[in-house]
Amino acid sequence: MRLAPIVESARRELDHRVALGRLRARLAELEQAQHRSPFPADQSTTATTDAPADCVLTGFADLDEALGGGLRVGALNEVLVPTAGSGALEALLPALARAQRPPQLLAWIDHARLPYPPALARAGFDLSRVLLVSPCNEREQSWSLDLALRSGACDVVVAWLARIDDTALRRLQLAAETTGTLALFVRPLACASTPSPAAVRLEVTPLASTDPRRRRLRVAIRRCRGSGSFGAESIDLEWSRDPLDELEVPALSSRTPLALHGRGVEAPRRALRA
């Protein structure tokens, strides 16, 4: 008797159950948000997968569990990244999309760089509800962040934040608390040693992917308010960015040479001149 098919079908069934559980949890979450749940959510599934009121699921079950429900709403969430292209924002975009309820804005406030709008549109954001603010210096950025967090018009405020003093951060934390706004600050790894009032602080290390269609990174939880986990707990995340990527396609084995016509035309000319 061959075990492989049995194991395979069991695994599939488990996957289905997990997926169903998550869907139920999401449904209950949506209904609770509307404050008129017609029937109570299934206790057995919510106990593990539903987010508490002040949290937004990241979509990665391990991370959500370690954070006690996900990113914090009404608080600062810091992500420390070592380099550009780490994938940290890409991993957390679905959580931001979940935290934003459309008439409310997503404000992206940065004095150096702004996100690429087509990438945001692709991640499912409604661009008309995305406000891109580029203050001219760090002081203006801090002022703009404070205003956006206090305004009550934003559900999510995102910033790449290098240097900011402790008192300013504390003020931002208070502002986020009063309006229940999720603030996500992406900061360089060098900021790890500076104090911060952030409720959640994650340190991200990109990992080389084993499958080119999927991305991987490691998250170390440096701080998480209100959850049992302390110290450096590391979790590996893996995801694919495009559902189409999951389809079986021929591997990138055969490389088609690039035709550079500039070169192609030039070479014989040079030969002629010589």
Binding site: P103, L105, R255
Partner: protein
């Protein structure tokens, strides 16, 4: 001396006196030059402002306006209420109005003049008004004195033919117009398309408070003018003209939603003035509309249950206020929203729309959203950055030289060919690769197929 304030009158100053005579009566008197043209302009502005009460407003002589309110008074709660409203709005614009209401324009004029002469017109009616309220020319006035009449009623009891010979035909016609026996057509004031107004400051101002006070006057007039035309303001320019040779300072106000609320506009101006440094005291404030739009009817929530919509509108207000405040401090070009554009070149696949700029009517966005072929990086370089990359035999990126280090690259996606733009002079021919460095960071590179070099265009942050 043409006119004086109540305080001056209390000191004994009367219109008609010479300036030297009044100076003798009251040494603290401030004398301003009479400017008939400016007076006419002011009256015209008032006429436009009063268009909100009736479409028939007429400029009636150098110091009077005639409003046809027979049809519109019921909408404002009756004649008495309307009179109160008109008086209040005149007062808000800095005018003191004496108002007479009657069935014909001439009768209304007589009542107003009678009130000006100190005659209480409350219920006694036209007949008890003094004949001086008819403002007759001097020879007619002499005749009236000779006839021994005291009131308008006395004049009306005299036989018309005799009265015409004793006074003048024009005077009798005036009486007939008053009684409605003769028609009196009045030319209508038409609201101008543009709004321009200015206010001279008696005392040149060097701080924000008096400027804002003057601006409030202008914005009040603007609000009335906008209401009369059923339009809302998209952007306006406030010009501060300083004393002396300094150049005027123009400040553009663009609220994020079309508005006519003078309170909002004054608040916006106050924000801007906080940051202005005035080189010299300001002696004149000008206001002009740059753009207005017709207002749409505002609808209140039809059902109690539509609370969600009410919340949405609150959010809209909060969002508009946030944008306004950010734009006021940072500048409109720093507060943006993005639209997708159907273009394959990544740097042209979107368009940034600055604060206050209206959305172009296009279905580009929906098309562009479907057209994006592959994953795009969250960070795009402002312009492609040349890189030192060694290619392998087939022309794909293999190693990257950066900061004196050699980094092995692994192509995880690509090549995505983008060749476009030959028609607008920015043609590109590129092969895009998503590459992963040894430590797992992912970059977006392209090889320029015309030049052969590699460029970094973004990072998958």
């Amino acid at each position: 001396m043409v006119a004086c304030t109540a305080a001056a009158e209390a000191a004994g100053v009367r219109p008609g006196m010479s300036v030297t005579a009044t100076r003798a009566l009251c040494s603290a008197l401030v004398v301003l030059r009479d400017d008939p043209a400016a007076n006419a302009r002011a009256l015209e502005r008032l006429a436009v402002a009063l268009l909100r009460f009736t479409p028939d407003v007429c400029i009636d002589g150098p110091d009077a306006l005639a409003l046809e309110v027979g049809r519109t008074a019921p909408h404002f709660g009756g004649e008495a209420a309307l009179v109160r409203l008109v008086r209040d709005s005149c007062h808000a614009l800095g005018f003191t109005a004496v108002i007479g209401v009657a069935a014909t324009p001439e009768a209304a004029r007589v009542l107003a003049r009678a009130a000006l002469l100190g005659h209480a017109t409350s219920d006694a009616g036209l007949a008890t008004c003094p004949w001086q309220a008819l403002a007759p020319p001097p020879e007619v006035a002499d005749a009236c004195v000779a006839l021994g009449v005291r009131t308008v009623g006395d004049l009306l009891q005299l036989p018309r033919a005799g009265l015409a010979t004793r006074t003048s035909v024009a005077f009798v016609q005036q009486l007939q117009r008053m009684l409605g026996e003769l028609e009196e057509p009045l030319p209508r004031v038409t609201p101008p398309d543009r709004f321009e107004d200015e206010l001279e400051l008696v005392d040149p101002a060097s701080s924000a408070a008096p400027l804002l006070f003057a601006a409030k006057r202008l914005f009040d007039a603007a609000e009335a003018a906008l209401e009369a035309r059923a339009r809302r303001l998209v952007s306006a320019t406030v010009t501060l003209v300083p004393l002396g040779r300094e150049a005027p300072r123009a400040i553009t106000l663009a609220p994020s939603e079309p508005t006519r609320s003078s309170r909002l506009l004054v608040r916006l101006l106050a924000h801007r003035l906080e940051r202005e440094r005035l080189a010299a005291p300001i002696e004149q404030v000008k206001l002009a509309f740059d753009r207005t739009v017709p207002c749409r009817a505002e609808q209140d929530a039809l059902f109690e249950g539509a609370a969600g919509e009410g919340r949405d509108r609150d959010v809209e207000h909060h969002a508009a206020a946030l944008r306004d405040r950010l734009a006021v401090r940072l500048g409109g070009e720093r507060v943006q929203t993005a639209d997708l554009v159907a273009d394959h070149r990544p740097e042209r696949a979107f368009r940034l729309r600055r604060h206050g700029e209206r959305c172009p009517p296009t279905n580009d966005a929906a098309f562009a959203a479907r057209a994006t072929p592959g994953p795009r990086p969250l960070e795009l370089e402002a312009s492609p950055r040349p890189l030192r990359v060694d290619a392998d035999a087939s022309g794909w990126p293999a190693t990257l030289h950066e900061h004196g280090r050699v980094v092995a690259l692994r192509v995880v996606r690509g090549p995505e060919r983008i060749a476009s733009g030959w028609w607008d002079g920015h043609d590109v021919e590129r092969a895009y690769f998503e590459v992963e460095t040894g430590d797992g960071a992912r970059l977006w590179l392209f090889r320029d197929l015309k030049l052969g070099g590699f460029f970094r265009h973004g990072a998958f942050s």
